[in-house]
Symmetry: C2
Subunit: 151 residues, 2 copies
DNA sequence: AAGATAGTCTATCAGTTCAATAGACTTACG
DNA sequence: CGTAAGTCTATTGAACTGATAGACTATCTT
């Protein structure tokens, strides 16, 4: 049940790209900047952002003054999309996956106990991740920042 | 976000061991029987059941008429226990794990967006899996079996 | 046009994990 | 004693993971 480094770095990078610049809008940022701030190997991050770009979540500009920026407003990019692109299906087993279904080989899928439970797990994860946008995360962070929870 | 074969096989085997025998109680079953019924490589299943035994979830008896049986009633064995034994922590990232916490290196864990969200995910998974016993699964299966959902 | 900046693309690598297999050993029963 | 079962440790091959390398392309500035 683990999120890969790829997924983790990707999420961190997207969150960084979602934090508004001086003009109050999602800024254009270079790979090396994000890598440095988030402590991610630059060359690795490069691949990750490229995947995200090819999937349509990021736009990029080459050359001087170039970099990456969100292709859509932070309210319209869910964590679920990001994780799926980088880590594949959310479902714990393929036979309950919406995006990559594959039969698991049990005699009757409808009455397979494992499938019933794992279906619930998949839905719980998907509801959470698909229901949370980059903007939602930013809002939550601001909230915690303002009213810190005592440790 | 994936369940390993180890985890999958383990869950299937435990469910099989939880289904009552002729006397209405969880029966003693041999590895090869389970392997055959559930289509699991016997030698692989062997290791899995051994782990489950060493963790205290199963009892075993050697020799003629031996085999495995549940160490506790099916109501007292949760899927969460099984998965943790076979696949490790449920948490997507170590910094939100209850059983295997490790810092993730972000400057402030309390205000880390990733951590906030993944904490929710971990809780959702844990609540589901820890809140579902082998008996619960059996009950659900019987229910579906009785009132099949049209495909 | 030259040179610098920044993304693009593909390959490769070492290390780990995963799924499975093998085989020798131990315990219990009859 | 012999057979039926679980126990234990090692090994294997394939895949995956995280990371690194380097050559290439587009864009801007001067």
């Amino acid at each position: 049940m683990r999120l890969s480094k790829r997924g983790e770095y990707g999420l961190r990078a997207m969150m960084a790209l979602a934090t508004p610049g001086p003009d109050g809008r999602p800024p254009v940022v270079q790979i090396r900047d994000i890598a440095e701030r988030e402590q991610i190997p630059a060359k690795f991050l490069e691949q990750i952002l490229l995947s995200l770009k090819n999937a349509g979540l990021l736009h990029s500009k080459m050359g001087v003054g170039g970099g990456y920026h969100l292709a859509k407003p932070p309210t319209e990019i869910s964590l679920g999309q990001i994780v799926r692109i980088l880590d594949g299906p959310l479902a714990p087993v393929k036979c309950v996956s919406q995006m990559a279904y594959e039969p698991c080989g049990c005699p009757n899928e409808e009455t397979c106990g494992l499938r019933l439970v794992m279906g619930d797990v998949r839905n719980a994860i998907a509801n959470l991740l698909d229901g949370t946008s980059l903007a939602d995360v930013a809002r939550r962070v601001r909230k915690v920042d303002k009213f810190p929870v005592s440790k």
